[in-house]
Assembly symmetry: C3
Homo-oligomer: 366 residues x 3
C-alpha cells in the first residue's frame, strides 16, 4: 500500500539522515504529499537568505474584504473559511477590516430593506453581520463600505450614490451600528481620481451623514492616483498621459480642502504609479494630509498590475518596496486590497500563501 511504503521510506530516511538524497521513494513521498507538508522533505527547514534589511517597511494592519465581487472572482467561502481567514489576518497584526462595498448594482452583502425594494437580490448570508461578529471575536475594527449602484461607473455622476446611501447609512447604523461594538467606522467607497465631477460634494455629503448618524465614527476614502498604470477598461498595462506629481498635488489639495472636516483619512491606492515614483507621490500625499489634519494611510495593493492575468498576487519585492516607501514618508497606517485573495494562506491563488510566508519572513513574524 502506497501509504505504508511512504512511512517505511520516511523511517529509513530519518535513520540514514540523508540530506540531498534523490531517490524514487523520496519522490513517492513528496508526490503523494504535494498538498501537505511532508516530514521527509529535505528542504523543509531552509530559510531564504535576505540581502536587504528586514523589517524596514510599514506593516499592513488593515485589509479590505472584497465582498461583493466586482472584478475579482469569488472564492465561495462559508463562515468556516472566513473565521479561519481572520485568524490568518490576526497573526500578522491586522486590526482593521474594511468591507469594500455593501452592495454593487443588484448584489448586496446584507438584506437591506431599502435595496430589496429597489430590486436588488437577496443574499444567502448576511455578510455584514458575519464580519461584525468575527471582528468582535478577533478584536478588530470593522469599517462599513457604502453602497455602489454602478451608476457612477456608467455615467461619471456621483449623485445617485449620495441618494441611495442616505437610506443605506441610516438603516445599517440601526441594524448593526448600535448592536456591535466592532462597528468602527465608514469607508466612503466611491473610487474616484482627480477631477471626478462632483467628488467633493459627494464625499462631503456622505462623510457628514456617516459621522452624524454614528456619533462621529471615523471615515476614510481610498482613491487612485491617475498614474501610468491607471488603465482600467483598456488592453494596455501602462498609459502615456499619466498625471504629474505637481498636478496631483494641486488637485488633491482642492479636494482635501473640501472634505477634511468629515473625512478622517485618505488611503491612496499605491498600484498605479511606478516603484521609483513612490517617494515623490508619497511625500506630497503626507504633506497634504498633514496640512488638513487628516491621517495619511496607504492602500498597499497586493495584486499584481503588471501581468497578463488580471489579477494574481503581487511579487513580494514589489510589495516590500511600496511598504518601505510608506515608512520613509512617515505614513500613519497601511491597509491592503486585499488579504483574502492575494495574501491569505487559504487563497485559491496559492501564490498568496507564499506571499504571506515571504511577508512574515521579512517582518520576522512567527
Amino acid at each position: 500500500m502506497e501509504t505504508n511504503n511512504r512511512r517505511d521510506f520516511l523511517k529509513k530516511a530519518a535513520l540514514t539522515g540523508a540530506s540531498a538524497l534523490v531517490a524514487p521513494s523520496l519522490f513517492a513521498a513528496n508526490d503523494e504529499g504535494r498538498r501537505e507538508s511532508s516530514p521527509a522533505d529535505m528542504a523543509g527547514n531552509l530559510e531564504s537568505r535576505l540581502i536587504v534589511p528586514k523589517n524596514n517597511g510599514l506593516k499592513i494592519t488593515g485589509t479590505f474584504l472584497d465582498e461583493i465581487s466586482h472584478d475579482i472572482p469569488h472564492q465561495n467561502w462559508g463562515e468556516k473559511e472566513w473565521d479561519r481567514d481572520f485568524q490568518y489576518m490576526k497573526r500578522i497584526g491586522i486590526d482593521t477590516v474594511i468591507m469594500i462595498r455593501s452592495g454593487y448594482r443588484k448584489f448586496m452583502t446584507y438584506p437591506s430593506p431599502y435595496l430589496l425594494k429597489k430590486g436588488c437580490y437577496m443574499p444567502s448570508v448576511d455578510l455584514v453581520d458575519m464580519y461584525l461578529r468575527l471582528a468582535e471575536k478577533y478584536k478588530m475594527k470593522f469599517y462599513f463600505g457604502l453602497y455602489d449602484s454602478g451608476r457612477y461607473w456608467d455615467t461619471g455622476d456621483l449623485s445617485w450614490e449620495i441618494e441611495d446611501n442616505k437610506y443605506v447609512i441610516d438603516e445599517v447604523w440601526k441594524m448593526y451600528g448600535e448592536k456591535y461594538k466592532s462597528f468602527g467606522g465608514w469607508y466612503i467607497s466611491g473610487e474616484i481620481s482627480r477631477a471626478t465631477k462632483g467628488a467633493i460634494d459627494a464625499f462631503h455629503s456622505m462623510g457628514k451623514q456617516c459621522k452624524d448618524v454614528s456619533n462621529g465614527l471615523p471615515t476614510f476614502i481610498s482613491p487612485w492616483i491617475d498614474g501610468k498604470k491607471a488603465i482600467m477598461g483598456t488592453d494596455k498595462l501602462t498609459k502615456e498621459d499619466a498625471v504629474s506629481v505637481q498636478q496631483h498635488e494641486k488637485e488633491w489639495n482642492e479636494i482635501f480642502d473640501g472634505i477634511h472636516d468629515v473625512v478622517d483619512a485618505c488611503a491612496f491606492q499605491d498600484g498605479h504609479i511606478d516603484y521609483d515614483e513612490l517617494d515623490e507621490f508619497f511625500t506630497v500625499n503626507k504633506k497634504l494630509a498633514d496640512k488638513y489634519g487628516m491621517k495619511c494611510w496607504t492602500n498597499a495593493e497586493t495584486l499584481d498590475r503588471d501581468m497578463l492575468i488580471r489579477f494574481l498576487p503581487i511579487k513580494f519585492d514589489k510589495l516590500r518596496m511600496k511598504l518601505e516607501a510608506a515608512k520613509r514618508a512617515g505614513y500613519d497606517k497601511a491597509i491592503t486590497f486585499e488579504f483574502s485573495h492575494f495574501m491569505s494562506p487559504q487563497s485559491a491563488y496559492l501564490q498568496a500563501g507564499h506571499l504571506y510566508d515571504r511577508y512574515r519572513e521579512y517582518f520576522e513574524i512567527k
Copy 2:
C-alpha cells in the same frame, strides 16, 4: 522539529479547550497544514448561517465533461482523478454525464478511424471508453457529444458538421454503443443561437441519425440565449443589442417546430442573460418545450461570466438564483457546464471546491 511542535500544541489546545486563541503555535499548525484539514482549526465546525430558504432550487443531476478543451484550460487528469471526480459527482446526485464533444478540429477523445484518416491527432487515452466504464461503475448515463470540426465557428456553415458526423455516429455506435449499457444518449453539440444558418436542417439530420442507429436513444441540444452577456470574441462583458424575449420565443418556436421529432430535450445555457431576466426567459422556454413535447432542461453554468479572468467558478448566490428560477419554471432537469473545472473539490480552481461545499450546504447534502 516543526511537526512535533505542532503535535504538542494540538495536545495543549485540546486540553485547554481554547476557542478563539490566537497564538503563534496555533498558526504554526495552521500554516503547516494549510493544504490539509487541521484538527487544531478552531473554525472547523462552523456552519454558515443562511438567511434564505434552503433546498429551494432545482438540483443539478447532470454535467458536461469538457473534453476535449476548447477555451477552458486542461487539467491533465488521469483515470485516477476522473474516477475520483465521478465519486464527487455521484455524491451530490449527478446521474448523467455528457461529453461535450468527441473531437474539436484535429483533437479527438477517442481513436476514430474516420477522423485519423482525415489528419486528426491520435489521443493518448480513449476517453470515450474511460467515461463509459466510469459511468457503468457509478451507475450513470453517458451522453456522447458529436464531433465539432471547427468549420462552423469559422464559416457559420453547419453542413461540414453533418457530413463528418455521419461517419462518427456510425463508428461510435459500433465501437461503444453496442458494448456499454451506460451509453445513454447523444448530445448534438453544435452551439448555435437563434437564426443560425441551416440550424434546423443540421439538428434534424444529426438527431435523426443518432436515433436511427441507436434504437431511439434520447438526444438533446444546449444552445445559448443571445442575451446581454453573449459577448464571445469581444473584450466586453455585456452588449447592447441583446435579443428580446418576444424575438427569442418567435425564433425558437420555429426551430423547435423543425426538430422536435428527433430532439428530445433542450437545455438552454443560462449564463447569457441577467439574473432578473431568468423568470421571463425560463417561462417561455418551458412553454415552448411543452408545446412540442420536448423536455425542458437548464444548462446551469458554473463558470462566472462577469469577471476579467475567463473563466473561474461562479459565485454561489448566482448559481442559486438560477437554480431557483429553474424550479419556479417547472423545468425537468438541470445539468451544468461543468462540474470538473468549476465545482469539483479537486479542481485546479480551489474556488470550485468551496462552491461544492456551499452547494451541499444549501441543498443539505452530507
Copy 3:
C-alpha cells in the same frame, strides 16, 4: 469529532473491501482530505490506459527558471520551495537550469553593482547565488541569462542590450563564475525572430564576450518561430501572415551563418506553430544546425498558447506530440519554458502537477 469519524470509516472501508461504494461517510473522508491523498480513496491505484506507445519522445532535461517575472505571475517562493523544486526537476531527469534573464528593466535577480548605479531596484534575495548553490547540490548545470533592459521590446533596437551586458557579463563572471563549478554556460536572452534588426551583430557580440570571459563556456539562444500563434500584444490566438518554412530556412540560414562561431546551440520555441507543422520546421532546424555545427535543441513550451487565460499549463497530449516530433527529427536536447509554473507538483497552477504525473506515466518515471 470529524477526524475520528473519518478514521472509523476508513477502518470499516478497509475491512469490507468496498470498491465502488458511494456513501456519505466516504465522501466525508474525501471531502475533508481534498488537499491530501486519502487512503480511503478507491481511485487511488488506478492507472491511465495509454493507447499510444510510451516513452516515444525526447525527454526534457533542461528548464528555464522564470526569474524575474515578465508576463508570468510570480509564485513568491523562498529558498525552501526552490530547493524542493530542484528535487522535483531532478526526479524526471533535468540536468540543466537556465535563468531566463538576470534582470528585466529595473528588476534584478542579483545585486548588480553596475545596474544598481543605473537605477535598478535592489532584490531581497540573490537568486543567482541561490540557483548556483542549488545546482551544485543537485549536480546540475546552471546557465546565466543576460540582462534585458526592455529597450529592445520598446524600440526594436538591440544595441542597448549589447552595451549593458558588457558590464553584466564581466561582473557576473567575477562574482559567481569563478566561485561555482555549477556555472555551466550562458543564455543570450534576446528573444528575437527572423529579420530582427541587428540580431546577428548583437548575438555575435554578446556570445563572443560570454565565451571570452569564461574560457569558452557554451552559449545558446531560444528564438521564436514567426508562426501562426506568434500573436504577442494582440487579442487573437492565431494570425494569418505566418512565416513559410522556406522563408524560415532562408532567414535562419543567414543568422546561423553569422553567429555559429560563438553560439553553440539554438533552442527554437515550439509553441508558435501548429502540431502538424512540427515535423516540417523541425527538419529544417536540424538541417541548419548540422550545417553550422551547432546543437539543435527544442524549447518545448509547457504553457498552453491556445486558451483565453494567458497562460496555464499545456494539455499533456500537446506536449507529447511536440516531444515525439523532436525525437523524430533527431534533436539533441529538450528544455522547457518552464518547469516551475507549468509542470511542477508545487506550482500554484494545480494542472501543472497533473502534467508532471502524466509526463512520468508516459516516460515511465517512478
